[in-house]
């Protein structure tokens, strides 16, 4: 009913560079750099984090490019924009096509969930309210198995 993709997000997805290429965008140096940075991330990340890291590594990637690229990737579905409970905007890598995520409030890890069960809920809401539902967003927050087990690891303050 609800199937899940386990594993740390970015692991087995089509390389971001490929997604860009296939969409007809130029494979520029800044974009390659960003793709690498993003691929290297576990869990969620913010635009600002990328800006900071790019600057730290002297990759010569400007703020504007980060925002522009993230926009593109979100558009293409290679990345999804999350609204953390804290109000921050974060992104996670994901299979282009869909979806929704469970996000760990402690380490930031995220896993995709498919919306098989959700679809029914959405359909039902539409029926009951008379709305035509065009878009829906589901975000789950909690603790991932590792953090539940008390594993140390990086704490990414997700409120």
């Amino acid at each position: 009913m609800v199937s899940t993709v386990l594993g740390s997000g970015a692991m087995d997805n089509p390389p971001i560079v490929t997604v860009l290429d296939r969409a007809g965008y130029r494979l520029t140096e800044p974009r390659r750099s960003l793709a690498a940075l993003i691929a290297g991330r576990e869990g969620h990340f913010t635009a600002t984090e990328l800006v900071t890291e790019a600057r730290a590594r002297r990759l010569g990637v400007g703020r504007a490019t980060v925002f522009r690229t993230l926009d593109m990737l979100a558009e293409l579905g290679a990345v999804e924009r999350l609204d953390l409970p804290s109000g921050e905007h974060a992104y996670v890598v994901c299979e282009p096509a869909h979806h929704h995520h469970v996000v760990c409030s402690r380490c930031g890890r995220s896993d995709e969930i498919d919306d098989t069960g959700l679809r029914k809920v959405v359909r039902e809401v539409a029926r009951r309210t008379g709305y035509r539902v065009d878009e829906h967003r589901l975000e789950l927050f909690g603790l991932c198995p590792a953090c539940l087990a008390g594993q140390p690891g990086p704490t990414r303050g997700v409120a």
Copy 2:
């Protein structure tokens, strides 16, 4: 399975002033003003909109107070913070207790939906992923019946 509360949001909820009072907050003039502004709203509204309207009506309510009050109300559950698809933060009045909303992308109207069906989905995700899910958020966007019917009415640009 999924029950719905129809009607334009703010209609039949405990007065905001009461919520504040019961929570032990002082019933100050600025808070009363804001409560009135919010009660007068249909559909969603942003902090900035309130600031602007308060200023237009010369209510002498400052920016900071608007943000502080909205925070309080969100905390108390009298209001819920929405993340519109555009990335904007908006608020809707709601029954303190729970909730998710369907939001009309055209007029901003919103209706509550209960999560009877959703609960099952959440539980299933938890089971499959091993996460302990502490918090979840569901937001649906589309067109309300009135807007579907081509009714004119105020268009609140929700992306």
